[in-house]
Amino acid sequence: MQKPILEVDGLKKYFDIKGGPIGRKVGEVKAVDDVSFTVMEGEILGIVGESGCGKSTTGKSILRLIEPTEGKVKFQDQDITSLTNSEMRRLRKDMQIIFQDPYASLNPRHTVEKIISEPLLVHGMTSAKQRLDRVGELLEVVGLSPYHAKRYPHQFSGGQRQRVGIARALANNPKLVICDEPVSALDVSIQSQILNLMEKLRDEFNLTYIFIAHDLSVVKHISDRIGVMYLGRMVELTEKNKLYDNPKHPYTQALLSAVPLPDPDMPRNRVILKGDVPSPANPPSGCAFHTKCPQAMDICKEVRPAFQPVEDNHFVACHLYK
């Protein structure tokens, strides 16, 4: 692998819970609780986890669309958490995001042309002619046509809108794109088209993706490395094949055993987890997973396991591996 493009170190995002008559702070939701990882240039890092585990918040905190509570985010060796707003705005050219819901992420009052050309204008392409050419070019890159530029988002299907969203993200030739569940709102048949398009674009434009999803097969298909999150924490991070062939963390094992197999008669060892996921407002002590872990030990209730390598390139946060 090449050099790292993004280093996330100890990222935390706590949301305050306000209550009482005067809106006092009565607690906090630990949406992202001490997450660290590195993304190499040109790779696709998948992040999986169930709903509410903090994957999207992680993605948006990295871009400072949600201000992180604590932690460092280094993009191309520059700590972006300390940048001023105007410095950050300039840097957004290189770090883009594709949103989950293509029905909500496009301004309904703007034509496709305006949607895609606005980032160009903001980052200094002042000539209208140039912008129009670039919009046409981008529309073709994502599999639409230049004549679509005059239309409004409501005149498109979900898959087409997501293509518009991708074109907007790519407008300024970014280096890193955070894909926040870009296909989960789409039909399965459209999902594969968009995934293939994204892979093609990665090769063509030398992009790096952080691919956030809850669908394990989607992540497996597209990612080089995969991180698994549980209750705001990263519990396992390794290369795709290592993770699927040899999952270390009990949560990952349970998660992977839940993936449906094509043959229902095939023998399998399902790990069934009991009970609900604890609330992130009041996470369990020690390892957040110990309340549901089939292999929980005494130490798990008291000491939070460190996120450390147990093998080459295989990080796990679990007391089973020391």
Binding site: K60, R92, N107, V122, G143, Y152, Q155, V188, K200
Partner: protein, 311 residues
């Protein structure tokens, strides 16, 4: 999920060709309907709104052609002709000072429409500005602005207008300022709540992710998307402003004689209700019709522009 088993070239072909499986069957000529034209098209089908628009148009024309309509003056007294009933000579009769009522109604339409227009514009500009600031920046800015709105809304509006006019002095212009002020929180609150709900929209976050400045986000993304409730409120507010101006005129706090203001016309002829009812009926009906016209159009606009009414 089952992934593609086709050859890479086929997939390549499919994803790069303009017409995809997820494309609706479409042709290049497909019409691009801007949301505004679409709204107008549906508004035209609304009979009540159209009736309201005709009423407004009628008074607008009346106001514009007032000097051409009659040869009478709206202020010159002719005591020989006082309190004449409607006739061929004076279509709406004359008032207690012998002035032609039709003439005074037509010139009065100028006054009322002007007051309505400027009061609404004033309230709209300041209310929208404050509402956007409060909604977009939140926290203590919102706290301060919202409490000011609450205080303004705690007074009965006409009482507040009277207080403002009492401070500034009774004149049409001051009545206009008072009406604008009491309408500021109404616009402000609508815009504020709209901005707060918009701020949570993903396309606003997307605009931020593109690297846009707050000013650009506000003017290109927030404002265009909050314009429809503003338009509806402005139309309805036009009617209320006219009504409030008439009320202030009636109380002697608005337009001063001999300005032919409808409310003031009502006040000056109320002693003659038994003797010459037309002196009251004409301005009264005019006020009622104009306000009705604006309310009908406002309701029609609300139906047409409210996204929840779309099918």
């Amino acid at each position: 999920m089952k992934l593609d088993e086709r050859k890479p070239e086929e997939i390549e072909q499919q994803i790069t060709s303009p017409v995809n499986r997820d494309d609706r069957p479409d042709v290049e000529q497909i019409e691009t309907v801007s949301p505004w034209r679409d709204a107008w098209r549906r508004l035209r089908k609304n009979r009540f709104a159209m009736a309201g628009m005709i009423i407004i148009l009628f008074f607008l024309i009346l106001a514009l052609i007032a000097p051409l309509l009659t040869s009478y003056s709206y202020y010159e007294q002719n005591l020989a002709n006082r309190l004449l009933p409607p006739s061929g000579e004076h279509w709406m009769g004359t008032d207690d000072l012998g002035r032609d009522i039709l003439t005074r109604i037509a010139y009065g339409a100028r006054v009322s429409l002007q007051v309505g227009f400027f009061a609404v514009i004033g309230a709209l500009v300041f209310g929208t500005f404050l509402g956007i600031i409060a909604g977009y920046f939140g926290r203590w800015v919102d706290m301060i602005i919202s409490r000011i709105f609450d205080i303004l809304l705690a007074f009965p509006s006409i009482l507040l207008a009277i207080a403002i006019v009492a401070i500034l002095g009774a004149s049409l212009q001051n009545a206009l300022i008072a009406i604008a002020i009491i309408n500021i929180p109404i616009f402000g609150r609508i815009v504020r709540s709209r901005v707060i709900s918009l701020r949570a929209e993903e396309y606003i976050m997307a605009a931020k992710a593109q690297g846009m400045k707050n000013g650009r986000i506000i003017f290109h993304h927030i404002l265009p998307n909050s314009i429809t409730p503003i338009i509806v409120q402005a139309t309805l507010g036009f009617g209320t402003a006219i009504l409030e101006a008439a009320a202030l005129g009636f109380l002697g706090l608005g337009a001063q004689p001999p300005t032919p203001e409808w409310g003031q016309m009502l006040a000056s002829s109320r002693e003659f209700i038994q003797l010459a009812p037309w002196t009251l009926i004409m301005p009264g009906v005019s006020i009622m019709l104009v306000v009705l016209g604006f309310n009908l159009v406002g309701d029609g606009l609300r139906d047409v522009l409210d996204p929840k009414m779309r099918n």
